[in-house]
């Protein structure tokens, strides 16, 4: 190949890779600008705090914000202990050659690859029909369904299963980052393994574990498909009264507004505003979580 053609190829590659990178930025910019222009002006205190009205062509989205927040919170409370304990087992207790640990790792990897709609079916079959059905059989009057119905709790637990791999992988990564020297120092001072874990390893791994929580929340708050089977409602005039109630959800509300409205023109500003709120909420959540993580990390590095 001649020098000239090599130079041409080099220049072409530079342009091509640069264009691909620019395209990514451009797409994000288009989304943000479009959503901001269409939605920001429509968001008001009233919009955030009132219920949808007149067949969703007016009113606000408070029940959807509330439902999303509560569902995400329950999901986090459910997924963190199980995920962290699993990672601790894998990294701290299982022998490197353990077949049980290998099996768990295969399960985690495959769990992460399951399409989210399948998690919805799983939630319906396992949580609602099997667990809920068993609860009804034991606790409810014959013929009545109290637990074996779509509900806030079942939706949150289904998403907890979906986000489990995220938490496990992040926590294991965080545990791996704790220097061996610190474990040795603790053990050489006569600490047991559990004392070492509680006083040295977990405090140092905390920023990484919080990262796992952030990723789980970001993933869980944005999922809609599993909720279709497990608890989300098209429209509810009232907030969910307990974890056994159905709930509204921002992501699903976007879908409803976009496809089910009797008057598309009247709904459009609401749709834009809802998407704007969903994005703002996700960003805000991430910012808060990143701030917590940075503070924890700085504190951990500086000592207490």
């Amino acid at each position: 190949m001649s020098v000239a053609s090599r130079k041409t190829l080099g220049a072409a590659l530079t342009v091509l890779t640069g264009a691909a990178a620019a395209l990514v930025v451009a797409m994000l910019a288009v989304i943000l600008v479009d959503v901001f222009r269409g939605g920001a002006g429509r968001v008001s205190w009233e919009f955030l705090t009132s219920s949808p009205e007149e067949g969703m062509t007016a009113g606000g989205i408070f029940p959807a914000i509330y439902g999303t927040a509560v569902m995400t919170l329950i999901m986090t409370v459910a997924v963190m202990p199980v995920g962290v304990l699993t990672a601790v087992y894998l990294h701290e207790y299982a022998a490197p050659s353990s077949r049980m640990a290998a099996l768990v790792r295969v399960a985690v990897t495959n769990l992460a690859g399951v399409p989210s709609i399948v998690f919805g079916l799983f939630g319906l079959g396992f949580f609602i029909q099997f667990v809920g059905g068993a609860l009804d059989h034991a606790l409810s009057p014959p013929g009545e369904l109290h637990y074996g119905r779509p509900a806030l709790l079942w939706a949150a637990l289904t998403l907890a299963v979906l986000t489990l791999p995220v938490v496990i992988v992040a926590t294991e990564e965080a545990l791996r980052a704790v220097p061996r020297e610190h474990r040795d120092a603790s053990l050489a001072l006569g600490a047991t393994r559990s004392q070492t874990l509680a006083r040295v390893v977990l405090p140092q791994a905390l920023p990484g574990i919080l990262t796992g929580a952030i990723l789980a929340v970001a993933r869980g708050a944005g999922e809609v498909a599993p909720l279709l089977f497990t608890g989300v409602a098209y429209f509810l005039p009232e907030l969910p009264g307990s974890v056994w109630s159905q709930f509204m959800h921002l992501g699903y509300h976007v879908y409803v507004l976009a496809t089910q409205s009797p008057d598309v023109e009247a709904t459009r500003p609401l749709l834009y505003a809802t998407v704007f709120v969903l994005l703002a909420l996700t960003f805000a959540l991430n910012l808060v979580a990143i701030a917590i993580r940075t503070r924890t990390r700085r504190k951990a590095a500086a000592g207490h």
């Binding site: 053990l187 006569g190 047991t192 500086a302």
Partner: protein
Amino acid sequence: MTSIPQHASAAPKMETRGLEIRYGPKAAVKGVSLTLPERQVTALIGPSGCGKSTFLRALNRMNDLIPGASASGEILLDGRSIYAGHLDAVELRRRVGMVFQKSNPFPKSIFENVAYGLRIGGLSDKRELGERIERSLHSAALWDEVKDRLGESAMGLSGGQQQRLCIARALAVEPEVLLMDEPASALDPIATAKIEDLIHELKARYTIAIVTHNMQQAARVSDQTAFFYMGELVEVGPTEQIFTTPREQRTEDYVTGKFG
């Protein structure tokens, strides 16, 4: 080279008999029988990979933590096997403390670093903690440098200070034996001298075993020197004799710098 008076009559504090340590099929320590006399400093010298660190780590069962490591033969503390039922590894490590090659303070305050071993032992009384931490920092010759900033992070200390903090942390649980794995190899000459002075002071109260690559250091700090080569204990004797009139040719070659 300074001449250190020998206490040949000192009672054996720790003793190994035919100790063999394997990593999988490979023997890292082969049939080593060695006595650590009470309140004396024993230096373990030898080229890299000769098994001296492995031997040291066997004395408080830190090798147990390495997958595939196994030990046979006897290790005695005050004449009783450290593998016997009366003593588990956790209890043993409180009696046989360790200082590592790389200083490894926890990312906590100076105070909490020294308090660590006491807290896990169940001590929570503020006043007693404070007293014992002050005493340990005095023993490690660090008190004057840190007394005004006990609440600050240990990570802000210099390398030499960090290593003395690790020594203070090990002393706080009041062990009987102190194992030191090349405690000064990562330090500058001034910090090294401080650690060596410290070892001189500590041997009045503790039985010490120190692994070192530095021949002058072994000569300066120890009463007894053991030369390891290829997993075997080649020769052990009073430090002065090992460095002036070794019985074995291999020992002479090593201490005179012909290989290493």
